[in-house]
Amino acid sequence: MKRTTAQAYNRAHASVAGGETTRRRFLLTSTWVLAGVGAGTIPRFAAQAAGKAKITYWTPLDPKSKNLRSEAETAMIDLFRNRHPDIEVEVQPIPWQNIGTQTIQSVMAGRGPDVVQFSTYDLPIQVEAKTTAPLNNFMSKSWLAANQGDFLLPWENTVYGGQTMGLYWNSLLGSSLWHRRDLLEKKGLKVPKTWEEIATIGASVQTPQVAGYLTGLSKSGNAVQLTNWLIPSMWAAGSEFLAKDGRAAFDNPEGARPLEWLADLVYKYKVTPPNIVSLTRDNVLDAFSAGTAAMVHCSSNIVSSARSSAVVGKVMGLADSPGPTAAKPAPALVIGKTIAMTRVAKEREAAWLFIEHMTGRGAQTINAKIAQEPPCRKSVLKDPWFQTPEAADLKVQIEYMIRYPHPFQYHPKNNILADMLAEGSQQVIANRRPALEVLQDVAKKWNATIGLA
């Protein structure tokens, strides 16, 4: 009786003070919290418990996006999953403009992905920042003998200090001339083969809603829209871009010709609006896809995006990038995205198998067929599919890359140089400064930046 009374008293007291209820609530809450924490770690533990290796892959292509490039990469990864059921791949999309920076930050913090797909200019920066792991140990002599010569792009471009720090994920034509076949055919005009023809044809086809020629000089995204066109144009005009020691080699009259031509397009021929100073690569792609630009220079990896446009998809044409004379087009800027292992990768064997697969013939064929991306391997081009009408875009670009190659390796501080060139180009157009004067200023600043003043 006494105990009952005491228990009743305690219960009443506890319920008033919230004691017993709070204890139960605390136990329940902490159980849920632990369950939640466990849920986050269970997949990894479960994978490990099941004998599966788990790798994290950072890519700019979101698997949930409904575009051909994302679809292609998802198919490439699914093929890997089928072939390697003992390896789990977690795909994390990161915007292409930030993937380099975020990789450095995460690896420096000791945490990061196992494998990353880098933008064209990123690998030298990552190597300098010591975020990538060498792949030499994974590449046997027989593997090298069978594969090294199969890559379209120079093998040595991804080798630093004797160590291969990444493999090319694709081959990328930095700049070709996209044009509206319907507008040219309507006026009975041919595809331009020289800079002068871009100006005159642009003037013929332009309307108040459609610019004759469009490009973008924004610093955003490492100024790729500018540099992908400017670098091969400087070569076409007879100037080099950088000397072997990294010093600027473009501060001469030949190097200034492309920007002088661009300024003429704006002010003399009036086929290009002056607001190009603020346009990014994505703005130029969107403008062309929306039908408000008759001709643009763009890269091969986004051809499929423009082809899927309801406005221009069927009437878009691709051509070699014109040079100053009709003798030959501008050299093809042949670059490529790279796929690399980070130095914080936990499952290195699995990461290497993934890299090997993504750059292998099977995955590269999928990427070419679905996303129209030029493959990184020569042997993939032997597939009969490349002779079909579906591969017409790829054929034009690959032939251009093969006939007029000028492979290029970015400087580790290219991001700084691209920023300077974008600012300088904006001054040429917005402030009407002479192009040679601007390039000489850029060269001086650049040489000082890399300690070669």
């Binding site: 450095i104 420096m108 002056p274 969107d286 403008a287 700084i416 920023d419 974008a422 600012e423 001054q427």
Partner: protein, 315 residues
Amino acid sequence: MPDVHSEGTAIRAAAPSQAAIARRGRQLGARRNLLALAFLLPALLYVLAVTFYPAVYALQVSFHDTAYFTMGKFVGLMHYIRFLSEAEGRNNILRSLMYMGASVTVALPLGLFLAVLLNKPIRFRIFFRGAIVVPWLISQIATALLWGWLVNPQYGPVPYLLVQLTGVRLEFLGNPSQAMATLVLANVWRSFPLPLLLFLAALQAVPQDMLDAAVVDGATGLRRFWYVIFPAIRHTALIAFILLTLHYFNMVTLPLVLTGGGPVGATDVMTLRIFREGFTFYRLGIASAVAMIVFLLNLVFSLVYVRALRAEPLY
């Protein structure tokens, strides 16, 4: 009969002395202070870890050369001297002050004007009060993407409609002088609800009898506003001014996404320079130095504001 005197003496003898009472009081006070400190300590440690330590670390980095995210050799004030002596650095400071000044000049009066309107007994007042706050709910990134699309010269609706209706073609982000104005406009569009809400609350606290007295005295609307309403909300106006200037001076997301600092550095504010130096060029030393200069300027602004607030009598 009880000896009251003796008892009183005894009681007085047993009672603690004044000094003992004071000592006990001090002990209790100290115990209370310790208890308060114990409760505050976790939050204090968190604040120190999240704000104080990074600031001190950034100060340290600003005196060193850096390679990516690794600190190198000590260089003293080199980064500060470089930033302040270069034309680009001075341009950054000027652009920041322009951006802040222009945005506050538009946002504050706009917020006040709309607050006065929304304080009137108009129809659907509740709906308008809700709708007008919507821009404040939109993130800076979304605002930048939205405005970037709206004013895009190739496919944006605003330039198109402008040409169709007026024949005038504006370049917006494609022109150095128009780019800053466009950025300020986007910023004001997003942030004017803040001063609006502050003013609206202050207006509702204005004593009605004073307004009635002013009406009886024959004051017009404008005079009532200037001599009755504005003095009542002056303190709120100062607070709104302080909040907005600090908010605008430290803003990075909107300029970064909308203009990237261009064209030709026309919108290259100090916070953008910090971002670019730190996360595009990986030059953390100079990024930290510029960040310290921003911090110092914020400190100066804050001290000025604190003095102004102290001098400002509450109505």
